[in-house]
């Protein structure tokens, strides 16, 4: 009985060592057997996809997916007509056809049997729910970060993905970007000595309960405001929200720790080989939060004092050296003897192409992605717990197994937010 149980509850965590050692990855080549006579991918090898949410980020991701020969997009869903029509035009131009369908209701596109996988790039408020709905419809999912707004959402999402045996990749693409992978490899391989502190670049945490002034609500076909709000509390329409100015509002956004932390805390978890756990203690200090893992490693989430390696920087410190890197792709290593580990990468930045490629490979092979739902959920739980500590302004203990703050009812109540009816996990 117990064997069965442990086997079943073996969550699909990261093949960390594999991913970290794959620093020198080269582009995936499509098997020639998959190509038809005209060079097009044979129908049996095609991954048929749809997209939910095609604003700025969604359109960017869509453009990268469209470059993949094995992918065929057949549908676009967005609550805003102008966005879905623009994305349809992009897809149709790519395929020189008029076949891409548009939807304002995600259930319609998810009901299509011919769709294998979904790109989800809505606003943050929808990430968990849309992913769960897609999993329940049997689709594999590439979902932009952050994957959740609360601890409870993170767990519900990971559970749903596992329950339905879906391939999931969170849009935390730095797991497949080589300067970050090298930094992780240095931390995990012991080249920094015994790891004692990992630093995650975050932003100022605050959010607000404010509302923008009410404006007349557009007709549903133009903007479906109720659906845009989704599971979040109802509020009057204002055009700025749907244009993308929803960050910073508590209902829609998890705050500045989560904004970059969904990438950088995630990398710190990985560096500490802690993909299956979280810190056990969180202490707010100004706009920073200092956390500690059960293995004694400290996680510092801070928005200042970085070496200028670019956005989303991380720094890993051991008793024999440190490495710091960021979106510029540059690295600082110390002391001098560690500099020999330095490598100059040309394909750096924030481009998620490798990450998307890995997702598509796993859709076919049923392998485990680098940013699978369980790994991403753990990182997000850590980020949310930090934000709870910051909001309460006091140190908190955290139990990573039960995912609760022992003995602190206020903190525990902040682990979830009731979704607006009729939505549920």
């Amino acid at each position: 009985m117990s064997n069965n149980q442990s086997a079943h509850s073996r969550r699909r965590f990261l093949k960390s060592a594999v991913a970290a050692s794959a620093v020198f990855a080269t582009p995936h080549i499509i098997p020639s057997s998959a190509l038809g006579k005209d060079g097009a991918v044979a129908p049996s090898e095609r991954i048929v996809m749809g997209a939910i949410g095609v604003g700025g980020r969604g359109s960017y991701d869509l453009g990268i997916f469209l470059q993949r020969p094995e992918v065929q997009f057949v549908g676009i869903c967005d609550t805003q007509a102008d966005r879905r029509n623009k994305a349809k035009k992009t897809v149709d131009e790519k395929y020189a056809s008029q076949d891409c369908k548009t939807y304002s209701d995600m259930f319609e596109i998810l009901a299509r049997d011919d769709v294998d996988a979904m790109l989800i790039a809505t606003g943050d408020r929808w990430h968990t729910l849309a992913s769960i709905i897609a999993a329940k419809a049997g689709k594999d999912i590439y979902c932009e970060k952050p994957l959740s707004l609360t601890i409870a959402e993170s767990r519900a999402l990971a559970d749903a993905i596992e329950r339905y045996g879906r391939v999931y990749q969170a849009g935390t693409q730095r797991r497949n970007i080589r300067n970050f992978m090298l930094a992780i490899e240095l931390a995990q391989s012991g080249k920094l000595g015994k790891l004692h502190t990992v630093h995650a670049n975050t932003l100022a945490p605050a959010t607000t309960h404010d509302c923008l002034p009410a404006e007349p609500e557009p007709v549903k076909d133009v903007v479906d405001w109720d659906r845009w709000l989704g599971p979040t509390p109802w509020r009057p329409y204002n055009s700025l929200y749907v244009q993308g100015r929803w960050r910073g509002y508590f209902d829609f956004h998890g705050g500045g720790i989560l904004e970059w932390g969904s990438h950088t805390i995630d990398l710190c978890q990985w560096a500490n080989s802690a993909d299956d756990t979280t810190p056990v203690h969180f202490e707010p200090r100004g706009n920073s939060v200092v956390a500690r893992y059960a293995n004694g490693v400290k996680l510092v989430m801070r928005d200042t004092g970085w070496l200028g390696m670019g956005t989303c920087s991380v720094r890993f410190e051991g008793d024999e050296g440190f490495v710091e890197t960021g979106d510029s792709g540059k690295m600082q290593l110390g002391p001098g003897k560690l500099r020999q580990e330095h490598r100059v990468f040309t394909d750096v930045g924030t481009d998620p192409t490798s990450h998307i490629r890995e997702f598509l490979r796993c859709v076919k092979s049923r392998g485990v992605t680098a940013a699978n739902a369980n790994v991403a959920a753990q990182s997000h739980v850590a980020a949310h717990a930090a934000y709870v500590a910051w909001q309460l302004g006091r140190p908190l203990a955290f139990d990573p197994v039960k995912e609760e703050f022992p003995g602190d009812e206020e903190a525990n109540r902040m682990r979830s937010r009731a979704w607006r009816e009729p939505w549920r996990v």
Binding site: M1, N3, N4, A7, H8, S9, R10, R12, K15, V18, A22, A25, T26, I29, P31, S32, S44, K136, A137, G138, Y164, G165, V167, A206, T207, T208, H209, P213, P233, H281, N295, G296, T304, G305, W306, G308, S313, Q332, G336, Q340, H342, V344, S365, R366, G367, V368, P395, A397, D399, G407, D408, E410, R413, M414, A418, E421, P422, W423, R424, V425
Partner: protein, 639 residues
């Protein structure tokens, strides 16, 4: 190492001390929030009150919130507060409301009951399975699945027999998952088996099969094998996914045994899974498969060798990597780069010594990417090749492999080469080597000294190297270049300083902006300084101080406007104040106003300074387009 329990216990104590001191405050605050809920306050205010009560609500809050469950606009807000409260009285309120609420409000409460796993609600929820409202029916089945007591399980399985739709099938899956979590794996397996043999939608039966294999653990092998041997591709694929979650020798053996029985596309998937499982016992099969007819199988086998291959595979992989089949060759090259182990390095070094022309460039590349130190003499020899591709590959590899003793040879090479393309390749290799050197400052001095006699046009190569290597000595050398009497040197140095990658360049850029009077280099230095303000991670007070200095030092409004715009990226009271300091400057007035309003829009807190700034801009009438934004800010601030 601290134990989890000790950390938790210690922090609990600290938290409790803090918490006790806050109880009185929280009680007072809750009372005030109750008053808001009972008043004629706006829906928004009441909604915010409910969000706060979700955190600090007390038993006195429950009846007040319960009354709002049937409110048209506040039902969700009430539930937002109640759902978070652990009190049993909340469960009673929710159960009671099942009798009166309708439609979506009823669905909301059912969802909350499900999340709270209130076993006492099971009977009523079972009745609601017969609701004529399909949303209520689906919500009830989902809630029963969360509860997952025996009565709920029986009800859900019973319903599955008559109506195997998505909602009830989903409930079955959740139910079984909950049973597994509560150590009832036998019962869970029963549920999974019923579901996978039901008329439920295909993808849910596939999911049930996935979980049924995993729930059985080591006993799941026969079910796994059954899926692998069946005709259904979806079940075949989900079995491979389950196999990765049950890694053991028997699973690997089962997968290996299937390879010869399956068609090529399935063969490739089996081999991929065996690689992921690091199934060493499958190595002979993978080696055979590298020679398979199917390219997909060949590529899968080559990729699998990346996980489990040995030095014995180097020869085979080299042969494939230099074959004419580009897709297979590319996979082999990647595997050769990634295969780990000193014996692999030795095998590659031995092959390199053979100088086989067909493999030469590839082996040079591998020596570099794998940083095989023993190959350095061979790489220097290859760098003298008459074949350009070989020469370039060797130089690149030297950048990755040489130690400090050999650095000078690479410097000489940069200074000696005539072709601009070869110089770029060599300079990049030299840079890569310098970055790796342990003594960064000493390395920079040594290289700079070698360049001192070089032609002026070579200075840009040196400064770019300084930029990429970084550190105090590199910065000092480049700053000195910015003061050089030769225009070309000043040009190269100031350009590179504007691209410097660490914030320690800022004071130097400011000095240059103040001393290089007039002309493009002064502007370049000032813009470089502004770049640091805008892009680098700096503490707020330092960023504001630097912005103030830049505004003082800048001679042209173009740069001052850039500084003001940079403030927008870091909204704070201090940056708003600094922008307003320039509101009186006629040339900057409009920009300052836009920046101040932009910052105010992003500031979360109310302050007299923000209000005063907005009113000042409003009364000036500087830009009618700002009017509505200022009003929105003032409304947000309660003015």
């Amino acid at each position: 190492m601290l134990s989890t329990q000790r950390v938790i216990a210690a922090t609990c104590f600290l938290s409790t001390v803090c918490f006790l001191s806050q109880i009185t405050h929280a009680a007072d605050e809750a009372t005030k929030l109750h008053s808001i809920l009972k008043s004629d306050a706006s829906i928004r205010e009441k909604g915010v009150a409910c969000k706060r009560l979700a955190v600090i609500g007390r038993k006195e809050s429950i009846p007040i919130l319960a009354e709002l469950l049937s409110h048209d606009q506040l039902s969700h807000s009430a539930r937002f507060a109640l759902e978070a409260m652990p009190n049993a009285a909340v469960d009673r309120v929710f159960r009671e409301s099942l009798k009166t609420l309708k439609r979506t409000q009823l669905v909301g409460v059912i969802n909350s009951i499900g999340l709270r796993k209130d076993t006492e609600a099971d009977s009523r929820l079972i009745e609601l399975l017969d609701s004529s409202d399909s949303q209520v029916e689906a919500a009830a089945s989902a809630a029963l699945a969360q509860i997952a007591n025996e009565q709920s399980v029986v009800a859900i399985l019973q319903r599955l027999k008559s109506k195997a739709d998505t909602a009830i099938a989903d409930a079955c899956l959740t139910c079984a998952e909950r049973l597994m979590a509560s150590n009832q794996s036998d019962r869970a397996i029963e549920v999974y088996d019923v579901l996978r043999q039901s008329d439920a939608p295909k993808h849910i039966r596939v999911a049930a099969t996935y979980s049924a294999i995993r729930a059985r653990g080591s006993s799941g092998l026969s079910l796994l094998r059954e899926q692998l041997q069946g005709d259904d591709d979806e079940l075949f694929a989900i079995a491979l996914q389950a196999a990765r979650d049950l890694p053991n020798d028997d699973v690997s053996a089962a997968l290996t045994a299937e390879i010869d029985q399956q068609a090529a596309d399935r063969k490739a998937l089996l081999i991929t899974a065996l690689g992921d499982l690091r199934a060493n016992a499958a190595l002979p099969k993978l080696r055979d498969s590298v020679k398979a007819d199917s390219p997909a199988v060949r590529i899968a086998a080559i990729r699998g060798l990346r996980q489990i291959g040995t030095s014995e595979d180097v020869e085979l992989l080299l042969a494939v990597a230099t074959s004419d089949d580009e897709a297979t060759a590319e996979a082999a090259r990647k595997t050769l780069k990634d295969l780990s182990g000193a014996t692999i390095d030795e095998a590659i070094a031995e092959e390199l010594a053979e100088k086989d022309s067909k493999r030469y460039d590839l082996l040079i590349e591998l020596a570099g990417s794998r940083r095989i130190a023993s190959t350095v003499p061979m790489l220097f020899a290859a760098a003298e090749s008459r074949v350009e591709s070989t020469r370039f590959a060797a130089v690149r590899a030297l950048g990755e492999t040489i130690i400090s003793n050999d650095l000078d040879k690479l410097v000489q090479r940069v200074l000696a080469v005539e072709s601009s393309e070869e110089r770029a390749v060599t300079a990049a290799a030299l840079t890569a080597a310098c970055i790796r050197m342990a003594d960064r400052e000493g390395t920079v001095e040594k290289v700079a000294a070698r360049f001192s006699q070089a032609p002026t046009e070579m200075r840009s190569v040196l400064f770019e190297l300084m930029r990429d290597v970084g550190g105090d000595a590199a910065l000092k050398r480049t700053v000195a270049g910015a003061h050089d009497p030769r225009d070309a040197v000043r040009d190269a140095a100031t350009r590179v300083l504007g691209e410097w990658s660490t914030a320690d360049v800022a004071p130097e850029l400011l000095k240059l902006a103040q001393t290089l009077k007039g002309g493009k280099y002064q502007i370049r230095a000032m813009r470089g300084y502004i770049r640091v303000i805008r892009q680098f991670g700096l503490p707020l007070d330092e960023r504001v101080a630097m912005s103030r200095q830049a505004l003082r030092a800048a001679e042209r409004n173009d740069e001052k406007i850039l500084v003001l715009h940079a403030l927008l990226r870091f909204p704070a009271e201090e940056s708003l104040a600094l922008s307003m300091d320039h509101f009186g400057d006629s040339g900057l007035k409009r920009t300052a106003a836009h920046v101040a309003v932009g910052i105010a829009e992003r500031l979360p807190v109310k302050s007299a300074q923000t209000v005063e700034a907005m009113q000042r801009i409003q009364s000036s009438g500087i830009d009618p387009r700002l009017e509505s934004r200022i009003k929105a800010v003032l409304t947000k601030l309660g003015i």
